[in-house]
């Protein structure tokens, strides 16, 4: 069931997910590039607000505003020796590093696309839904992954898998399950937040009398600051506005006594945190993980498509021919499509022998009115469980009694690198043997790693038995 949900989610969101991942990858590169610029200050926590303001006062003619951006840039708006301008400053010396230049139009375009696909509010809703689907995809993917490798502990062991696409899908899943989940959550949050869903929370404001509490700028570290607005004039009602990440102070000129303190509501902190984790703008480490994760999503889609085209799509087009008329029924249980490929091959061979036969999955087990022989080809899923298209077989087998005595033979596919080699085929063999009217044509036959010679051996044995 999880497999089907996972497939449908991926299929449904594929186009938009691809577009947002690719644009997200480009934005990740931008975030990484931005952190290499000279104005990106590595250790803002090393500077106190007091020293920075003092340095700016001595080196800049007049400061209007100081902003610390998400990218750890210290932006000063004011009058320098070059006149009124917006520039990046060094918090240690208060000197200009660079003028502020507009973001490159290319990245601006990509950002707008990533947020809203150029569709304004409609696009924002679509992107929000995609983020939500990404959460579901990572959760269903996570469930599949742990079941596939047989428990959470197995996450730390090497993956045993021959097929390169499946192996890629599993390894990427191990590495990027959590980053992708986080991208989904934070992206969905930012989209919802954009529509002002959380405006009901009020911030908490306290006022103080003049001189009651003095703001010690020495204790404020630059990494907590978002903006300092200077008083417009020397007038008494003109104050400093000091915005931190979680609160904002209005402070009197001269003695720096606090007039009011407003603590932001929880959702604004949540937004800040989600922005941090979704953009990676302030941390090279986060940006790197996000960039790789965006790339991983593209690879997930590619490897997922490769796996899918082998199973799900074939399964959808299954032709349920003459099951009612057939005297020989071939049932298959398949996860990767291999058993199905072998079942088709067997059907082709037996048709040449003029058997009237029907081919279907174990899940489609029914009362086959004219059946005399049933051949089962099945893989094993995870820790000895039924593959996804055999999950319902055992239940159906209990309730549906065949009209004629049945000769059966089971062929199990598996890999000896798993401890429970062909376990599901073994389970079926013992179950069918117990059933009245069911007679084993020959003992259970197991095939390791799709061995060609073993299959041919079994096939010729079956053909001979049925002559």
């Amino acid at each position: 069931m999880w497999r089907r949900i996972h497939f449908l989610l991926a299929f449904g969101s594929a186009l938009f997910l691809f577009l947002t991942s690719v644009s997200g990858f480009i934005l990740g590169i931008e975030a990484l590039m931005d952190q290499t610029k000279p104005q990106a200050i590595d250790s803002l926590e090393d500077y106190s607000l007091k020293t920075t303001l003092e340095k700016l006062d001595t080196n800049i003619k007049e400061v209007f505003e100081l902003v610390i951006t998400e990218k750890n840039y210290v932006v000063v708006q004011g009058i320098s020796k070059d006149g009124f301008e917006n520039f990046y400053a060094d918090p240690e010396t208060g000197l200009k590093i660079n003028s502020v230049t507009p973001t490159s139009p290319f990245f601006k375009l990509v950002r707008s696309f990533h947020r809203s696909l150029f569709l304004k509010n409609t696009g924002r809703i679509i992107v929000g839904i995609i983020a939500f689907l990404l959460i579901l995809l990572s959760i269903t993917g996570g469930i599949l992954l742990t079941r596939r490798i047989g428990g959470i502990k197995q996450l730390f062991f090497l993956t045993k898998e021959k097929n390169i696409y499946r192996k890629g899908h599993i390894i990427l899943g191990k590495w990027f399950f959590i980053p992708v989940l986080i991208i989904g959550f934070s992206g969905a949050y930012l989209s919802i937040e954009r529509f002002n869903v959380f405006t009901n929370q009020e911030s908490n404001t306290k006022t103080y009398a003049k001189g009651e509490r003095i703001l010690d700028l020495n204790t404020i570290r630059l990494n907590d600051v978002t903006r300092v607005s200077y008083p417009f004039s020397k007038a008494d009602d003109e104050v400093y506005n000091i915005e931190l990440k979680d609160r904002v102070f209005t402070v009197r000129q001269g003695d720096f006594s606090i007039l009011s303190e407003e603590v932001y509501p929880f959702h604004s902190l949540l937004k800040h945190w989600n922005y941090y984790i979704h953009t990676g703008e302030s941390s090279v480490f986060v940006a790197l993980i996000l960039t790789l994760a965006a790339l991983a999503i593209v690879f997930f889609m590619f490897t997922g498509l490769k796996i899918t085209s082998k199973t799900s799509l074939d399964l959808l087009n299954l032709n349920k021919n003459n099951l009612k008329e057939a005297s020989l029924i071939i049932l298959y249980g398949t996860e990767t499509g291999n058993s199905y490929q072998f079942a088709k091959r067997l059907a082709k061979t037996l048709r040449k022998e003029n058997h009237s036969l029907g081919l279907t999955s174990l899940n489609n087990y029914a009362i086959f009115p004219k059946a005399k022989t049933i051949l089962i080809l099945t893989a094993t899923y995870g820790d000895g469980e039924a593959p996804s298209n055999a999950e319902r077989f055992e239940k159906r087998f209990e309730t549906m009694v065949q009209l004629n005595p049945i000769n059966f033979s089971i062929l199990g596919f598996g890999s000896k690198s798993y401890p429970k080699f062909c376990q599901y085929a073994i389970t079926l063999q013992s179950r069918l043997e117990k059933q009245d009217n069911f007679f084993s044509l020959m003992p259970l036959f197991k095939i390791n790693n799709q061995s060609e010679t073993d299959y041919c051996l079994w096939e010729s044995m079956v053909v001979n038995k049925l002559k």
Binding site: V75, N86, V100
Partner: protein, 166 residues
């Protein structure tokens, strides 16, 4: 030979040309409390016939949104100031980000002295994506007396104050 002389003389001529005197005006803009995208502003000096004489400041760095300020945009189109090379050098101050609802911003504009106390107007046009455009959010006389007062805006601007240095 003559052209060569001219070429030599040019730096001297430039040196002796009178530097255009300017009035420096410090502005404080406060924005009304609204939710949504940041506001775009363009500040221009107009003559009595409402003709654009000089654009002194643009707030908001994404030129693709300038078309929201319709009157200003028509002025750009009529005068073929589309391309970045034609447009940007005309404007002294392009401040980065737009201002959001409830915020305030301080900046400086410069106005040629011959436009000051001479019957010209200072107009603030404002626009917010998906919301509205205000042609005369602020439209005041450009003189010493007017700049001493606090002016209330008619659109996204709550109020505005000036300090002019001549």
């Amino acid at each position: 030979m003559q052209s060569f002389l001219k070429f030599l003389l040019l730096p001297f001529l430039l040196f002796f040309l009178p530097v255009e005197e300017e009035v420096e005006i410090k502005c404080l803009v406060e924005i009304i409390d609204y939710r949504g995208e940041g506001a775009y502003f363009v500040i221009s000096v107009l003559d009595k016939e409402e003709k654009y004489i000089k654009t002194v400041y643009v707030l908001g760095d994404d030129k693709s949104w300038f078309s929201e300020m319709k009157s200003f945009w028509i002025h750009l189109r009529e005068n073929n100031l589309f391309s970045d090379e034609d447009f940007y050098p005309l404007i002294d101050g392009i401040s980065g980000p737009t201002i959001s609802g409830g915020e305030r911003r301080v900046f400086q504009i410069k106005v040629p002295k011959n436009l000051f106390n001479n019957g010209y107007h200072l107009r603030f046009e404002s626009a917010v994506e998906d919301k509205a455009y205000h042609l005369n959010d602020i439209n005041i006389s450009l003189n010493t007396e007017s700049l001493k007062q606090t002016h209330m805006g008619h659109g996204f601007i709550k109020k505005i104050q000036f300090i002019a240095t001549e």
